[in-house]
């Protein structure tokens, strides 16, 4: 873990939520590679929450975030830097639902089966960057003892989860309580950076009503929001592939909030808070926009770009984000941060074998050894690399260690 300077927007700063986006793009392939077969065609009228496509292998639905007409299919960039086909919907701003249900008073009153069915049909995926269908996490046969809610944002610019927690702490607690009740989970922890006192205070104000929910302060360093680290730190348990193996489910706070809307209004959230920051943005802020918003349209309708040399557009945080060649980037559920940064062009030098990359690697890899030993990469566990980028961050020779490892991994 390494302490990295903080450039976050204060959570108390107003979320900008009044930007009206005309054209919405719903990608037919997710970040993790789930492909959705369209169930609508050009010319169809869709309402909010209508199914637009189905992933055949998981029987998982892709939902519309607006009401309007399907006007075509176009290729746009998504958060992993890939160009994918997207359904184009012309938003009519009528916010129509096909069958709108009333607000549910007590959201704990769902059966487990019903909850899982709703998750599967809602299109809710991990909103902390993972993009993993949430219903798969909950459809485990293992007894779940702990629910860990990840409220850590260790990337230096990202503050969308902080803004969400600041504004919706009560709703988040209500939802966690409901999930623990429905899924018969013993205890829930909300992991928050220990220095994030504003958010901790927000939760503490309401937490007394929920005796099985605890706040768990986590060291303020990068990458303290890493799932494996959180599980080990909070429960002292280690797992091979999935936390549910050891009776733990980890959800990001935004996913929890999305589940809250599903349980409360019988539909998942259609909007998402995203941090837009960096020296190349005129008005850095947290924006609440429709899922499927095109970043270029958002920039046109807000204050836009400021002038910097060699700007790069980054989808995701400064450490783990991907560079995108145009601003035709779609804001999907998993995308929390978009940055416009100035490319510094630091020249890399010869490796001095200082070992700092090995020292900081949260997985315990030895990047410098992996790079030096082409034929033994597997033995040196290159596959365990989580791509956190700390090795590249600390390298005094400014070598892009992670990129080298990634290209070796691909080979």
């Amino acid at each position: 873990m390494v302490s990295i300077e903080d450039k976050k927007i204060s959570p108390s700063k107003k979320i900008i939520d009044d930007v009206k986006i005309q054209i919405i793009y719903i990608p037919l392939k997710s970040k993790l590679g789930y492909v959705y077969k369209p169930t609508v065609k050009v010319g169809d009228y869709v309402c909010i929450d209508d199914t637009l496509g189905i992933n055949v292998t998981t029987d998982f639905a892709l939902k519309s975030s607006v009401s309007g007409t399907i006007v075509g299919i176009e290729k746009k960039y998504i958060s992993n830097g890939h160009l994918v086909d997207c359904l184009v919907i012309e938003n009519d701003f009528k916010e129509k639902y096909r069958n709108k249900l009333g607000k549910k008073k007590d959201i704990t009153k769902y059966s487990k089966e019903c909850f899982l069915y709703m998750l599967q049909n809602s299109g809710i995926t991990g909103m902390g960057g993972g993009d993993y269908p949430t219903f798969i996490k909950y459809s485990t046969n293992n007894k779940i003892n702990y629910l860990i809610v990840n409220g850590i944002e260790s990337e230096i610019y990202s503050s969308s989860d902080n803004a969400l927690m600041y504004n919706y702490a009560e709703e988040i607690l209500e939802c966690i309580d409901a999930i623990t009740e429905i899924m018969d989970i013993d205890k829930a922890y909300i992991a928050i950076n220990e220095n994030n006192s504003v958010i901790i205070k927000k939760f503490l104000k309401h937490i007394n009503t929920y005796p099985n929910i605890k706040i768990y302060p986590i060291i303020d360093a990068y990458p303290s929001g890493w799932e494996r680290y959180l599980v080990n730190e909070i429960t002292n348990l280690n797992y091979e592939n999935n936390p549910s193996e050891v009776g733990v489910i980890v959800n990001n706070v935004s996913t929890i909030y999305s589940i809250y809307e599903l349980l409360k209004y019988n539909r998942p959230s259609t909007e998402k808070i995203v941090t837009i920051a960096g020296a190349g943005v005129r008005k850095p802020a947290n924006y609440k926009v429709k899922i499927g918003t095109n970043f270029s349209e958002l920039m046109l309708k807000t204050d836009g770009y400021s002038k910097i040399n060699n700007p790069v557009l980054v989808a995701g945080g400064a450490m783990m984000g991907k560079s995108i060649p145009t601003d035709e980037l779609i804001i999907t559920r998993d995308l929390n941060t978009i940055l416009v940064l100035e490319e510094t062009n630091q020249k890399s030098e010869k490796c001095i074998k200082c070992g700092k990359c090995s020292e900081v690697c949260p997985v315990g890899l030895m990047p410098v050894m992996i790079i030096d030993s082409n034929d033994r990469t597997k033995k040196l566990r290159i596959d365990k690399c989580i791509g956190c980028g700390l090795c590249s961050y600390v390298c005094p020779s400014k070598i892009e260690v992670r990129e080298i490892l990634e290209s070796m991994k691909e080979k």
Binding site: P325, D327, K353, M369, S392
Partner: protein, 336 residues
């Protein structure tokens, strides 16, 4: 639509850099120079100061020229690179400090050897100076009798008193500040270490484990042989053990890259130095530090990978280290 440069990388970087790290080593050498200059100008001899500048100047000149020739061969024509990237300044100052009392011919040879070794074995950086030092020390061994109270124990009825161990080579202050013009200041070496440690610019595990191993062996050896604290003091303050452990033992390029590996490396070199101490006192550190990278670094890097993932190896390494220390002690007792 607006276009951007596509660049896959980590978009923020720590403000540490290789030149910053190397410059810190250079800054750490300045107090050694200042101490020698001021002390000798005020209380010592001006000749000594002149000799210092002479040796630094010659080693700098020879090193720069030799390095530039190597750079020209590599088609790097910019002379500033010699100063900025090749650490020639640091290397020349270390060599200059070591060759104050040497003749010009010896300084030239040692500088040449250093830079040639540095360029032939590209994994060697500051520690290439060890080869230059080796030349100087071997010559001194050849021309003088360099026996110190550390080696001729047999001839002493009892050892370890202040008068016997410290006074002949100056008092305690002379030893600590390197004012006897024989060894470089241990105190300044410790301060340099603290500075580099604080700036995260040194492989501190190596220094810790090296000094600790050496200290434990010497302490036990002293206790077994009824020697008192001054014996230990002399062991630690002579032979430039602290200076070399800070500046040469931690050479980035040819030492293990993991913390675990660095500890093992330091332990083995500590044992090696302790043994050699009784054969060639002043050369002991230099030889150990030359042998270390040649024999150990690659294999230790491999072992430390196992250590990272299997904790039982920790106990194995700890047991081996204790056994090695005990064997060393027995060996030393036989040697004297």
């Amino acid at each position: 639509m607006r276009e951007f440069k596509k660049e896959n990388k980590v978009f923020i970087k720590s403000n540490n850099s290789t030149s910053k790290i190397f410059n810190r080593y250079l800054y750490c050498l300045i107090p050694f120079l200042l101490l020698i200059v001021f002390y000798n100008l005020i209380w010592g001899s001006n000749i000594y100061v002149l000799n210092l500048f002479k040796s630094i100047f010659i080693s700098l000149l020879i090193s720069i020229l030799t390095q530039y020739i190597f750079n020209l061969i590599k088609k790097e024509y910019n002379i500033s690179k010699v100063f900025l990237h090749d650490q020639i300044l640091t290397i020349s100052i270390i060599l200059g400090l070591f060759s104050i009392n040497s003749n010009i011919f010896l300084i030239i040879i040692s500088s040449l050897v250093t830079v040639i070794i540095k360029n032939i074995f590209r994994d060697i950086n500051i520690s290439s100076t060890l080869y230059g030092m080796l030349v100087i020390l071997l010559y001194s061994y050849y021309t003088n009798d360099l026996n110190t109270p550390l080696t001729n124990l047999k001839e002493l009825s009892y050892v370890g008193t202040y008068e016997l161990m410290v006074t002949p080579h100056g008092g305690i202050v002379d030893y600590l500040f390197g004012l006897n013009n024989i060894y470089l200041s241990p105190i300044l070496s410790v301060i340099a270490f603290i500075y580099l440690f604080n700036k995260k610019s040194i492989k501190y595990n190596i220094v810790f484990s090296y000094i600790l191993t050496f200290f434990i062996i010497m302490l036990l050896f002293g206790l077994f042989n009824n020697m008192n604290i001054w014996y230990l003091f002399l062991q630690l303050t002579t032979g430039n053990i602290l200076f070399l452990s800070v500046f040469c033992l931690t050479d980035y390029t040819n030492t293990p890259t993991t913390g675990e590996g660095q500890i093992i490396y330091g332990i083995i070199l500590g044992i090696l130095t302790s043994v050699l101490r009784f054969v060639v006192p002043d050369l002991s550190v230099v030889i150990s530090l030359i042998l270390g990278p040649i024999l150990l670094t690659k294999i230790i890097n491999r072992i430390s990978f196992k250590l990272k993932y299997d904790k039982k190896y920790y106990y194995l390494i700890l047991s081996i280290s204790i056994i090695l220390v005990l064997i060393t002690l027995i060996l030393l007792n036989i040697l004297i």
